[in-house]
Amino acid sequence: MAASGCRGVRSILWKYGSCGKNFCLSRSKTVPQLPVRHICVSSSLWKKNLAAAGPQKFTQEFIDKQVEEFEIGKRHLANMMGEDPETFTQEDIDRSIAYLFPSGLFEKRARPVMKHPEEIFPKQTAIQWDAEGRPFHFLFYTGQQSYYSLLHDVYEKILAMERHQDKMRNKGLLTSETKQILLTGSRWLLKEEIEEYLVENISDHDYMRLIQLMEKLLSMPYCSLEEEFILKFRKQLEVQSSKHEIPALQYDPQGVTFSVADGRRKTAKASITLRDSGSGNITINGRNYLHYFPLLQDREQLMFPLHFVGMLGRFDVEGSVEGSGHSAQAGALRLAISRALLSFVSEGDVEKMRQAGLLTADPRIKERKKPGQEGARKKFTWKKR
């Protein structure tokens, strides 16, 4: 028939009346043949709607089976590598997989990986109610149970703190010098991190309300009682002031102290050896700096770090540089000299040099040319018509 020939349409035979097999069998003798209707339905009804299904859901048994297989596989891997299965850690697994399945792919996430199923399968909420259908959580019917229960708990803590404050006031022990929580160097968790913690989606407004409530908790005098709870929602920031790597002070066979350091600027790479008890000679690539840098500006760049710390005539500078142009080479040498000076200079001077910008590598490089333009910024001639 035409219906069966067409791929996207299924025809369903529908007999009206009760469709129980038993009834049909018993009644077939007495009731006449019922008319049959062809109902054609389009493919959208019987094809699986992938978009509406949402993210794939895994059952708890499936996850448990994966965990079991992972543990067994870990032991097999340990045996293969000739190591003890009992003390086989995740780093060992990563090392073994990288050895057994060498991959030249640039994208690290595309390489073969063997991790615990907890890290691979996304965390998802299990069935929220028991056998009788009663939900486990008392705020289930709000729709966002974890978020609202968190708000409830925080407010409960605020009330408890107020009661504690009243008790202290009654005893006459209320002081303003209470232990404060150290908050410097940490920030509140971001909305995405809170969502991960709660395993729920929250809106920006909800996030703002949560942070406001936490700030209110912090504003109370006895907030140190809930320090542990508050710090759960704060993340330590990476240390801003990067420790400058001071190059080690080395000794010549003659007993002269020297230090070696590198510097880069654009594509120029420079390497400097700073020798103590010298007379201020500067040699670059075997030539005197006057010959190598005829331009005064470049020589001033070389001088600047030594002039800044006031040790112009003290050192003998021996450097090698390659790549890029004269200005970039001068900049690279300057950075290398500043870094080499760190081992000869006091702590306070290190901070002064950092603030002067001597220790910061210049990140500027040549901007790429874009298609449809002459250069990086220059556009083709604009014609009105």
Binding site: S26, R27, K29, Q128, W129, F138, L139, F140
Partner: protein, 264 residues
Amino acid sequence: MAAGVLSGVRQVFRGPRLVSAVFSCHGQTLSSASAAVKSAPDTAATEKILNFPLTQPDYFHLSELFTMKDLFEARVHLGHKKGCRHRLMGPYLFGSRLDIDIIDLEQTAEHLQRALNFTAHVAYRGGIILFVSRRRQFSQLIETTARECGEYAHTRYWKGGLLTNAPIQYSPGVRLPDLIVFFSTLNNVFQQHVGIRDAAKMNIPTVGIVDSNCNPSLIAYPVPGNDDTPVAMEMYCRLFKMTINRAKDKRRQMELLKGISASV
């Protein structure tokens, strides 16, 4: 021949009825006769547990939980100003004094008794009770009350299809509340709470504390009373918690007795 045909027809008609009788017995395999015999006293005892309390007017003795004097001292009789009065609250008001509406406590006591009795019976039969209020001052109190009596609370922003679109809002197969108790029927913009209309749509009975500016029409068990004073709210929370705990304890007691009598 006619008789033979007739008997044949009668046999055919008897067939489907027997078949339907077999299919109508829910799940019980009639292969073991002993199983059928054991199940009969069980269902009889369960039915007795479920039906007997319904025959008594005050099975849980809830009249001893409060008196009219308690209601007066908790300032339940204080309504809003005369200008805020809702037309349909007229019958529940005693009068007005200095422009403030006074709620008739005799009617309140009667309505409260009926509401608490209904709540107790729902809790006794293992129903899900949801406490709803949009008053931010009492949100913490109501949530704590719900947690302490093992029921549920919703004192936050009410999302559109929570009751009417439940399989999609939560998960398919979710069980909706069997009773919704409104501690304040208005939301923050002084309009009727959406939950009242939705519960009526989903055939869920409601108990509601209606103040003099609220509409009591859609609520199954309205309780005219004050919903603004903290003392009054604390009293309501205490009363509901005590009824639910009493009803649940009674049910556990009856189950234990049934267990003892069945083993004996």
